[in-house]
Structures are given as C-alpha cells and as structure tokens.
C-alpha cells in the first residue's frame, strides 16, 4: 500500500504549485488548494510513520469533504470540471488508503500501554473506565470525574482532570501539587521531551505517583474537593501573575 500511497501523494504534490497559483481566482479554487494541501500532509505523515494521527478518523472527515466538493464541482463550467475531476479522484483514492492506516498497537510511543500500566489503579480502585482513546490520548471517566492523559510536550495539556460537569472545569497536575503543599509544582518543566518510550514512561509514571499520593479525594469525588481545587488554582494563578508582573511589568506594560 505504501508504494501506491507514495505515488498518490506525489501526484497531489505535483499539482500543488499550480493550485496555489490559482487559489485566489475563485473561492472554489481556494478550497481545493487548502484541501489538497492538507491531504498531501496527511499522506506525508503516513509515509513518515507519524503515529500521532488518528488516520481512519481524519480520512473519514476528509472523504466527506471530497463528496461535498464534488457536488459543487458538478455545477461548475465544463472547463473547471475537467481541471478538478481527476484531482478529486486521486485525492479520494489517497484518503481511502489513509483510512486503512491503524495506530500502533500500544498507541503513539507505547502511550496506551504505559498509561494502562501506571493508571490501572483508576479502574480497579476507583471504577473509572476508558471512554476514549486516540493515538496520543486516553480519556478516563468514573461518571462523576474525568482524567485525560495525553502524550504531548505541553505538560499542562498532558494531564487534565475535573468533575464531569458542563461547562467543563479543568484542573492540572500543578493544582493538585499546590493544593497539597508540594513545591514540585514550581519545578514542572515548561516543555516535556517525549521522543522515546522511556521518556513517555517516565512522565506518566510521575503523574501516576502524584495521583496515588494526592489523588484520592479527587478520584473518589469527595464532597467539596473541586471547590478546594478551584481555590487552589486561583491562588496558584495569582502567585504566578504576581511573579510575572514583577518580572515583566504589570500586565506586560513594562
């Protein structure tokens, strides 16, 4: 499949410079350019073995767009139809290929395996279930509380939790540390390095340890826990704002 996929990607790439030149001639041409540019990217990610992408999901959404564009094209002048019909056919074939690409068995860099291993206690001790899995992400919920873990370099985004309410309240690992007087909240990196399975394992093992140490009231949805977390988050936020104001001038005014 990868040979065929490579050829299809190359066919789209050959057309891209021309599509880019034409993109401002009509609105439709602009949509075609933007779409083909993205489809080419998706194909490239497969060829580069980028395991972060949920290819079946992405491709299904884009195949809908192909149908939509094809419907519009049928009402266009013959010349325009000739220009784009084959291109949409090639794109559709590419997306059908991409749709078949499954994520690695353990998720991106083995993150599913790692999270299942370190957060197994959520399921056994707190009756959480996995409600969504993406190549880089596992979303747990107990019905009352959610915990989302993601293999992403931004540590804030990599672990969020809160009550299952609408609108969603979000708390982070530093809030949990802060509320429990653990000064490690100050030392969390601004940027994680998650390029290897070992780095992924280390980070999620750390998160699991924090939850094992301080997470019980959160995971068991103790009365008042999220109100206390809200206060802790506000307090930590105010501390951060004071620090930034001191360093950079009040509200960035120098």
């Amino acid at each position: 499949m990868s040979n065929e996929l490579k050829e299809l990607v190359e066919q789209l790439e050959e057309r891209l410079p021309e599509l880019e030149r034409e993109r401002f001639s009509t609105t439709f041409a602009n949509h075609i350019f933007e779409a083909v540019d993205y489809w080419r990217n998706l194909g490239r990610y497969v060829l580069e073995n980028n395991t972060k992408v949920n290819y079946p999901d992405r491709a299904r959404g884009e195949l809908d767009l192909v149908s939509k564009l094809r419907g519009i094209l049928q009402k266009k002048p013959r010349e325009e139809q000739q220009n784009y019909t084959q291109l949409l056919g090639t794109s559709e074939k590419l997306l059908q290929n991409i749709e078949k690409v499954q994520p690695p068995e353990g998720g991106h860099l083995g993150v599913w395996k790692v999270i299942r291993k370190h957060f197994h206690f959520l399921q056994t001790d707190y009756k959480f279930s996995i409600v969504d899995m993406q190549p880089t992400r596992v979303h747990f919920s107990s019905g009352a509380v959610y915990l989302q873990l993601e293999c992403i370099e931004n540590p804030t985004l990599s672990c969020s939790f809160g009550p299952e309410t609408e609108p969603r309240e979000t708390f982070w690992i530093n809030d949990l540390l802060f509320m429990n007087g653990d000064t490690r909240y100050r030392n969390l990196p601004e940027e994680l390095r998650l390029d290897t399975e070992e780095e992924v394992e280390n980070w999620f093992a750390f998160l699991a340890d924090v939850f094992k140490q301080y997470g019980h009231p959160v995971l068991s949805n103790d009365p008042g826990i999220f109100a206390r977390l809200t206060e802790a988050q506000a307090e930590r936020d105010a501390e951060y704002a004071r620090e930034m104001n001191r360093k950079f001038g009040v509200e960035g005014r120098g």
Binding site: R58, R60, M244
Partner: protein, 279 residues
Amino acid sequence: MSPLEQEAAIATMQYGLVYEYSERFVHLYACGQSQFTGKERDSDSSLDNFTARYYSSQMGRFMSPDWSASPEDVPYADFGNPQSLNLYGYVKNNPLSLTDPDGHCDIDGEHHWGWCIWHTLGFYQTQADRVREATNFFNNNDIRDANGNRIVPGNLSDKQLLQYWKTYNDEWREAGGGTTADAALSGFFTQWGWRGQADYNKAVDKLNEINTPQGTADHPDLNGKVPTKEEALQMIQDAKGKVLRIEEGHGPGSVSTHNYPHINYETASGARGTIRIKE
C-alpha cells in the same frame, strides 16, 4: 551563504527555529537542545528567506525552553530552561527601565530607604546588580561583539560590560517593536492573562478540541474571546499545533463559513483546525 546564514540554516533544519532579533546580532535558539548562541549578523546578507524569519517577524518571540535535568527551587524562573534564570536576570537588568534614580541606597554603597524598598522588590537595581546580571548573562550565552569576539565579562571593565549590556538591550527593544528582550522570550501578556495562567491554558486547550462532525477543530473564539494574530500564533505553538496559513476572510458564495480573518492550523494530533483572529 555566509557562515552565519549556514549556522542559522542548520539550526532551522535541525530544530525548527531561529530567533533573529536585531540587525547586528542573531540569536539561534535551538529548540530541544541546550544551545543558545548569538553571533553578529552578516551585514551583507539577510535571513529573510529562512522559515524562521516568518516566526520572528510575525510573532516577535519564541518560547520553547528545554527540559531541565536539575530544576531549581525558584518559582517560574526555572521551568525547563537552564537559561531561564539568566533571562530572568536579563529582565531585571534592563538598563532603560530599571535605573537608580537618585543613587541613594545603602545597598552596594547607596542608601535611601524608599529606593531600597523598590530595590528589594526587584524594581530598581544598583549598578552592581546590573554588573552581576550582565556578567551572569554573558558568561552563559555565546554573544559576539562587532568583531566576532565573544563577550567575556572577566576581560572587561564594568563600564565596558554595561555598555555592551545597554547595546544588547537597545537592539532587542528596537527590533521587538518596543518590547524588551526578556519580554520577547518569556513574558507574554494576552487577553487571557499571562501566558501560562489558568485562563490562557484553558484557551490553549481549546485549540486541540475537535468540534465539528467532519473531525476538524473550528474555533470562532476561545472561551468567548477572539485572539489577535500574535496571540493565536503563540497559542497554536503552545498547543503543539502547526500553523498552515494566515488567511483573510473568504468571500460571499464560499462554502466556507470563515468570512473573517483566520489561521489555518493543524492540531497536535494532525487534525485540521481554524481559529478566528482579530481584524
């Protein structure tokens, strides 16, 4: 291609970004590596064709500190970046905004109680403070003078050192459209508060949220506010997404509902995204 351009090109290819901040200096900030070098810019050449030029000119800043193997116990100044303490020092050491107005304080030989309170709070500095922080900064960063020689504080008088320090700040400020070097690297204030504050992080979180039946992320606002272009670019970077295009609104008759200025981006997991930006 000049040696400087070659170095910048290599950094661009390997690490994805180059931070250019003045006509005379070029800083290479290598994301993912503990490297931070500065060299005089080749006056006969331009970095305008480098990918990173887009970032530096459009955003005016980059904030991708490295992982710190041995974080230090100083709130927020140590996050991941071994140089952040220097950069933090650099903030305080801005010779333009932080001055010794009357020269009377018993710290470092000066005395005046009111001044000392501000000094203690970090708003004012003595000359000795500035020398210490300039020394710290230049010792830890490879900054070259106009002749290509590294600035070594130990070889300079205080006066010479502070002159370099002032030039360095001035150029950064000039290139940053009024911001100081420290602000360009670390402090970024937005409609959601400082970068890193809870509301800001919640807005960033939104960018990766798939919210259409087609599996795309389409955000006409972020928790009720429309970002400026600069804010959106920073937020996309913090969400670990990738900017594809900055677009004007699509005209009438378009199948797109994006009839306002917007940025096309890819989410961290490769989904297509759109964020509205202010006119």
